[in-house]
Amino acid sequence: MNELAIKELLYTLADNQLILGHRNSEWTGIGPILEEDIAFSSMAQDKLGHSLAFYTLLHELGESDPDTLAFMRNAAQFHCCHLVELPIGEYDFSLIRHFLYDHAEAIRFEYLAQSSYEPAAKVAAKLRGELKYHLLHANTMVKQLGNATAESISRLQQSLNYAFPYALGMFQPSPYEADLASSNIFPRESNIQAQWLESIQKILAQTQLQQTAVHTISPVLGGRLGQHSEYLQPLLDEMAEVINIDPSTEW
């Protein structure tokens, strides 16, 4: 078992969930309608639960405890992609980000549930059931708003165009990708990206949204290796505000 490769994979999975979870939680209290406020808040809670499950696996491999991993690292130690770091923007951007991210996440969890690394396989087999509801939500809203009014369609289209290079950044390969793939721990990111494109296309085809040609877009990379957007560190500072005031506090 290649422990370094497994740890890097677990950090990437956990950090993406944690950061998107925190971003989703910023809709609590200000969602455009009550159902969406509740939906983004619920998905935030699920994503924090998912990150906790992966941080717990890391802790079992000798890393710090989950709270320390979540709140006491700086941006350069995070492995998340830029897509999840971006501010919530307007509702249309948050919806599109959630749609693009969760389609990829669902594919990841299906592969992970088959992983030869059994602890992660067990966690993924459990979490994929919860993720189905995130996908159901994303697909329902994208189909509704992607066919509704001229304004809703053009807003979603603009957000889709803006988010796409960041979304492609989700598929930055692990430095240990060859090891992970050959030992049947986790497939190559290019496989996941290809399936993801098919998966989002199935939904977009049922809307009036156009997907831009992928080969003309350069992905925004770097997050997996610790190079982040200007938005991550301020978010981490905010998340760690309580623990930084009093590290021994319980909340």
Partner: protein, 160 residues
Amino acid sequence: MWTKEEILALLAKVMDPEIPVLSLLDLGVITDINITQENQVMVRMTPTFSGCPAMEYMRRSVEETLTEAGVQDFKVQMSFDKPWNTNKITANGRKALQAFGLAPPPVYQVVPDLDILEHIACPYCNSTNTILRTPFGPTLCRAMHYCNNCRQMFEQFKPL
């Protein structure tokens, strides 16, 4: 020496903090009870929804119940080894949910399909002329439906 039956009887009194009519046994989150030769009681639990804030509370309730009953040596562990799903809610638990005004999750074969979220029987009037309004609700485990027959919203313990 404690017996498994005695521990089960104790745990039957520990209720879900958010659905106080449902015991943890009926919810199906207690996956193993073992008593070692040294009389140590080992209880294994598994989370319902991984982000459910009530899980830590449930674990503490189990520990408090064991302590109050005089069990001196025990260990309560959370584990994904036997993952929870809504098929693990007992028949008794389903009745309790229904009486509480929460539509119980449909029992499914093999893998739950999202189609089973449609036309859930209304817990108030039993009509299936209902529509899923949103798969998210006041807690992680609940979805919101609307009954076209008695014209009110109701909550469902959603299938997982």
